[in-house]
Symmetry: C5
């Protein structure tokens, strides 16, 4: 699907659903703004628009249509930039190859081409809807429009982090109160998610940083302030995710230590029981022997005497354990 | 609440509680100094003052009013700087989201606007009180006033670190003398606090470093010396907190090792007891058998003989354990 | 074996299997393109071609013929570059000294010399075959031809990584379901492979980065775009391999923890059995003693009474274990 | 206490114990050299000399008199430098807050002011004593004098490291031969000392590096060679301390592994004993049963038969253990 | 011992064993080349040659004669460089303070002075011997001669690494097949050696890097290529040693895990034996009780019945263990 919108000047009404020739015409107007959004384009559409209308470099087109995972980056091709960024699929719970949606943006002086191969692309959809209600968003040119999409893209990560924050705090509680193997695997899963998140966020941070600092002709000095704002949000995102990583690591430490503590406790129980009953059983064994000549056997107080020994052993052992602070 | 104070020159008496027009007027005077402190401002106040009086950039206003956690930073907007720093809430014991108070400072050539959303902001309060007693603080201009606030902000961290130092040394003692699970959780808590502290301090260090080195028009060359002094304090702060991190890590190592040592000790007790009494019980079991033809049973010295065996086993085992240095 | 091909201009047909004099002649033509591929050359061939025809520096020749492992690098010798890169042997499963094939490229304004000592060099072979079908590859000059070889070289790593990805995910499953010592050694092997891979890829990334950014006279500004594309592929390669490293590390963590958990479980079983049967055996031992005067022995309900004790002990212990959540 | 010495030119005799006016006079002479050493100065002395005679910046004075721990640093104040370094107290065994003595140096074109709050400052004392014997040290100006003090300061660290080296090698031996808990705590202590040492040395290295490279007006190009020499000593110091850190880490690894190995050995003993005697005791228990109809009991060779079983069990178990290489 | 050789021009025959005056004379000739090799010089020789003939800076002389370990470095003294490098003693097996030999090189426009305090210095000896056979080595001037020595110095490290490679692969095998405590200590020793090696190589890499890149007057642009070649060898050396470090770390991981696995196995054996025989012994104990009224005792099938119970317990336990996959 292809969606197009063109403003001949920042105040006039937009023209929608342009055909190829209209697009070419719109590109002639340096004051105008043309936004083309390619959604799961087939190769014919790609050829027509990216190659024929916009005349993009074959490498840029290939990169924008490639289906494998690509790290976020920014490539400068003289008159335009190719920006690759990663949006988060709506209602993402875990970070994996499905949750990260590649968005390609071609940013020129008076146009923006967005292209993606996923069924949905929340930041583009949101900006498109906002454009229906409020056309002010295009008054500041293509660089501002591009910023608006990237701003939505970045802000969509925050709800995920908030949710992970809740999950992780619940896990931390579980670890302290009643750790199970399930707690462990959830902790490892969270750690995994946070590592994947870092791998998605870090290169985007670099991309936005370059947009806010480097001197690209299609981004006004004024607009860089907006990119810097997006950059600050990304820094906050990374900060948040590092805090979560610290909490997860701490919880894992406690978990592993609790395993070792429980082993200690189990072994102590075993040792106490064995150390008390092995001697007792031995003493009982002595008087279970059948020797004909055993002086204690016919003794009137033999049985009483052996009970005294039993009790002395028990009391002595318990005193010794208490002395060593074993319970 | 809004507090304002204005000096028309560094020697004259101040004017307090200015209204909007007076503020606008004060801003005209390049020799004067206007300080506006916004404390939990509502959006009407924000609009009036930040937008209408000072004409700040919408992004700067948005950043300064945002309620989420923001990393410390410094943004340059031509005529003024927006500095975001984190003060410590009074009587903080643990570092968490409540203990870190965001302070926003707009620093211009002849004005300073401070703004925060917390109920209290110790460094602003302290400088304000100092200003009642001693107006010399404003003689060196807005950059010096800003430095005074940041200096208080940084110095407020030291008592917390001193207190953590005491806590951690007590924990280190406990680990060596009588470690309990409670010691562990307190150590992990301290580690957590120190990690959070690092995340708060590091970006502030960067902010102050830039204030003391970069060439901002609103900071005189002379005043940079003062910022460098604040920077040195932050370096010391970080040094202190890293020392504490080392001590905590060391104490955790000892703790975990002591767990493992105690397991060794427990197992050794169990092994000694088992290794002595299992053979004894077996020997007693032999003579508890009821075979009709057992030569030792009717023997006159059978019982004596078996006691000799018992004693030989015990003595032999103890000798062997001593030989292996088990006790 | 030596293969040569020469184009006198980008449109004319090529000349193949040139002799020494033809090569020298071809080098005179600044518009032409000469590609010489040395495959396991003997020293006579090397001397003739690298020294006499191309007049390369002795150090460059020595480096290109050295048989030990050499880190990928790029050396600038005025009129030409020596690039050392590592291709992957066809059907590589594990990374070791056999799987990494050193490829030496001498890149000049109007020539490319490739040289290697392995029996096969997939990227050179592939580009050579492509050249038979499609001569357009040479129209952009020696820098584009060199790029084509490096592009193949880098892309050959992706199938290996895909295969490692599958292996590692299977191992991750095994760790969670039924970990064995074999799982561990395979995990450690994968970790080892990934570390070796990193050591091969990192310096190549640096080499390609320099080719795409530095200002070498034999690489046009236009061609750098192509090198940047190769660079992006290498970045993706590194990203992929780091993701795999994270998964392997996570799986190792789970494995080691599962060892410790199983120990805990084993010890708990032992402790439960011992704690129940040691007291029972002791009680039975008491009434196995042969004292003449034991009041319970002739008692009518003695045996019943001792069974009550047995059952009380068993029930009590089980209740205590359940209370402590041991099963 | 205040010590002063002044040379009007590099050849004339010195003047000692100058009063305030003499100091002011000495400062007028650009060819002379004035050294003032403040030892635990009170605030009156500080005011008179640092403020009135030398006219230092209030921040520099405050820094030099501050009593808390300050990281080594170098601050440039136009006409003079403030250098903060850390000497080692004489006969230091462990690194702690008492062993590190802060030394403040104000270095100007024709003067050096040293100031410290500790009872003793070995490098200043040593240079002062050397000055009594040999006045050549002042012929090269204030920068050379300052270098002499810093050189002594750095060299005083070597004996401590030599001593730690011996201690650590003894500990390494102990770990291999007869590790005790005491060995562990001493190893952790050494690790702690080495970490503290690194925190003291690293910033000083940076300070000396800047003195030997940056272009300060009060340090001649010629004198930088001497600072570079001090810098090399610091690098060696750091190298030495990192070697020691490696040895300590290695020894800790062996220690922890030996704990785990001993646990293995203890458990193996227990298992061997239990696995042999539990079956034996069971067999003996069988023939201790009192059933009226047990065919083996009245059998003539019953007792012999049971001994054969005992011996078979023992021999079989031992063979199995040897097969599994348990002893 | 002092060895000297002088070439008045690159083609003429050399003059050997020069006296002080001849050396001074040789230094006058800008086209010539003078090599002086000081081997364990006494201080008189040092004074005469380094101070009087070459007029080196006292700091350079002190550095070159210092006996303690010095990190490799390069110091520029205007007309000459002082290079400190570390050769490997012949037939080194482990890296320690004896195996690293300090070599000092003073490199000037038309002279090279090498100086060392060890009994042997392989790279100097080798280059000296090569000079007897082949004087071409001096035709390229002092910078080429210096390169030749450093080249030998670096290449002497490769045999050691090859040997360590073999040792470590043998250890890796041992770890997998039959790990003993001896394997562990050898692994730790190898790790130690590799860490020491890194500390020796890293600063040398920096030294050679500076020689191949920085603009020193006594090194021609042409000669830098040769230094770059030495640099590449050092990079390969570091790569090799890092590969070995990875293998050692991997082997240590397997070793430690195998310790833990064996503990698991030992404990499982113990638990199986205990869990089977403790109940059996208890049952036998029941019928060893002497109660007058026990219904099973006079029962005709009592003994048979108890054997049925024994077998049921054994079979049940084994089935349960198999169910839990314990063997």
């Amino acid at each position: 699907m292809i969606r197009t919108i063109s403003f001949s000047s920042s105040t006039s009404s937009p023209q929608r659903e342009l055909d190829i020739d209209q697009m070419k015409h719109a590109l002639q107007n340096p004051e105008g703004l043309l936004w083309v959004s390619l959604e799961q384009p087939d190769s014919a559409e790609t050829d027509q628009i990216l190659r024929d209308v916009f005349n993009f470099h074959p490498l840029a087109i290939e990169d924008s249509q490639s289906t494998g995972y690509q790290t976020a980056k920014i490539d400068e091709y003289g008159q335009y930039l190719l920006i690759i960024a990663h949006a988060l699929a709506a209602s993402t719970v875990h970070i994996n190859s499905d949750s990260s949606l590649e968005l390609n943006l071609f940013l020129g002086e008076n146009y923006l081409v967005t292209s993606y191969n996923s069924a949905d692309m929340p930041p583009v959809r949101e900006v498109w809807e906002r454009l229906q209600r409020d056309e002010r968003i295009v008054q500041n040119g293509s660089d501002y429009l591009c910023h608006a999409i990237l701003d939505h893209l970045v802000d969509d990560y925050f709800p995920l982090l908030d949710q992970m924050d809740e999950t992780i705090e619940a896990l931390e509680d579980q670890v302290l109160k009643n750790p199970t193997t399930d707690t462990l695997s959830k902790l490892l899963e969270s750690k995994h998610d946070l590592m994947s998140l870092r791998r998605i966020i870090s290169p985007q941070r670099e991309v936005i940083n370059r947009l806010s600092r480097d001197d690209y002709p299609m981004i006004d000095k004024q607009s860089r302030l907006y990119y810097r704002d997006v950059y600050d949000h990304l820094v906050r995102l990374q900060d948040l995710s590092e805090s979560l990583r610290d909490i997860v690591s701490g919880a894992l430490d406690i978990y592993l230590n609790s395993t070792s503590l429980r082993l200690n406790e189990v072994m102590r129980s075993l040792t106490i029981v064995s150390t008390i009953f092995l001697p007792l059983t031995f003493v009982a064994g002595i008087y279970g022997m059948n020797f004909d000549y055993m002086p204690e056997i016919p003794w009137r107080y033999g049985y009483l005497f052996v009970w005294v020994i039993f009790i002395l052993i028990i009391v002595g052992m318990l005193a010794w354990f208490r002395h060593r602070k074993w319970f």
